[in-house]
Amino acid sequence: MADTMQFDLVSPERSLASLQVNAVQIPGAEGDMTAMPMHAPTITTLRPGVLRVESSQGTSEFVVTGGFAEISAEALSVLAEKAIPMDEMTRAHLDELIEEARQTYKTAKEDDQPHGLVEDAAKLLADMEALGTHMSL
């Protein structure tokens, strides 16, 4: 059994990581999951959260918001709408994201939009705030 797999993290603006990894913890829309080599092929959407990558060179973390992950037995691709390496992440950055989420929530609530968009926005906001405590900033 292979003990590593190919991991790619790409955002629309750039490709952030491409390396061999042992395990990756993914903030899935329905809960966190850890993907390891020989995982069953899965596609999951992401909620805003922290992506933890374990490779032979150590552990690295990325903050991702939205997007999806495609897991197969020997590869994992994460396509995030926004992805920021943890060491580039600052409180100001997070505040910006939270503010953005708050705005979305507000406009969604005011416009009284259908298809549970209000709940989505509220959830996004909560996720963002949880992210702050998670990062101990």
């Binding site: 629309p12 750039r14 596609i43 959407t45 396509l79």
Partner: protein
């Protein structure tokens, strides 16, 4: 024959024009490199995204429960043309070519009895189409303040389009932009974004065995709007690179033309100067002879 002073001024003015076009060419070359890099950086995302969408669309697309963004509204009566152009001119035929393609398409659709609506992104396209199709404009997205196209800009455009789609304002949306081939060639392209067509992508056989979390339908519903943003983003980046490429070659031509003009004017200037000297000499000699 123009007098010497005029010629001199003319040469000076063409020389400064040449300096400006030369500078613009170099700026465009630097910007082109950056634009190309940006376009290349976004490619892995777009590629993977389209591959996954192709798989999803293939497995869900046929059913009646498929989202409207994929299935369409069942009609193609109202067509939205999204015309992406530059905010600035002086880039050769770049804006004109995109506008021309959009105009052609609009006329074809009108001849077929369809309703045409136009959303312009970029000032130049709006200006070019206003005269013929001004009545069909439904909106304009201004990107003149944006220095570097980001994904957020594409999301803004996508949101505008999706809101209109949800409101039932149109059935089919098509993007118009210039595809970057190389510095001298940019191909104006029309690409349908709603309803989305991912059939072009290679459908891997393994795609059918994926587990989906949440359900396939939910993922598809979540990803389709993102797909619109992604397509607009990559079109904007292509367009950015094309614009700089077009400007670079246009300015290169302008610089060369200015050089030729300077040469011609200089010859004319020297000729007329010599004519003046000859004239003066003749006057002196005939004056001396008359004595």
């Amino acid at each position: 024959m123009p007098n010497l002073k005029d010629l001199k001024n003319r040469i000076a003015s063409v020389k400064s024009t040449r300096k400006i076009t030369k500078a613009m060419q170099m700026v465009a070359a630097a910007k082109l490199r950056r634009a190309q890099e940006a376009a290349e950086d976004s490619r892995p995302y777009t590629k993977r995204f389209n591959a996954v969408m192709a798989g999803l669309a293939a497995s869900v697309g046929g059913s009646d429960s498929a989202p409207k963004l994929l299935r369409g509204t069942g009609s193609d009566q109202v067509q939205l043309l999204v015309v992406l152009t530059a905010e600035r001119g002086l880039c050769g035929g770049f804006n004109a070519n995109i506008a021309k393609l959009a105009r052609q398409k609009a006329q074809e659709l009108k001849a077929a009895g369809k309703t045409v609506k136009i959303l312009t992104v970029g000032k130049k396209g709006r200006d070019a189409l206003r005269r013929d199709l001004g009545d069909d404009f439904v909106g304009h997205v201004d990107l003149s303040e944006v220095k570097r196209i980001g994904y957020a800009d594409a999301q803004g455009v996508a949101k505008d389009i999706l809101t209109r789609f949800d409101a039932g304002e149109f059935d089919v949306a098509t993007l118009f932009f210039a595809e970057f081939v190389n510095v001298v060639t940019q191909v104006p392209t029309a690409q349908q974004i709603i309803p989305a067509s991912y059939e072009g992508g290679v459908v891997e056989e393994a795609s059918a065995v994926y587990d989906y979390e949440p359900s396939e339908e939910a993922i598809l519903a979540d990803l389709l709007p993102r797909g619109v943003s992604t397509q607009i983003f990559s079109a904007l980046l292509e367009n950015g690179a094309s614009e700089q490429g077009a400007r670079m070659s246009a300015m290169d031509n302008a610089t060369r033309n200015a050089g030729e003009m300077i040469d011609k004017l200089t010859i004319e200037f020297n000729r007329s100067r010599q004519a003046v000297i000859t004239n003066e000499l003749i006057e002196i000699i005939s004056g001396a002879e008359a004595l």
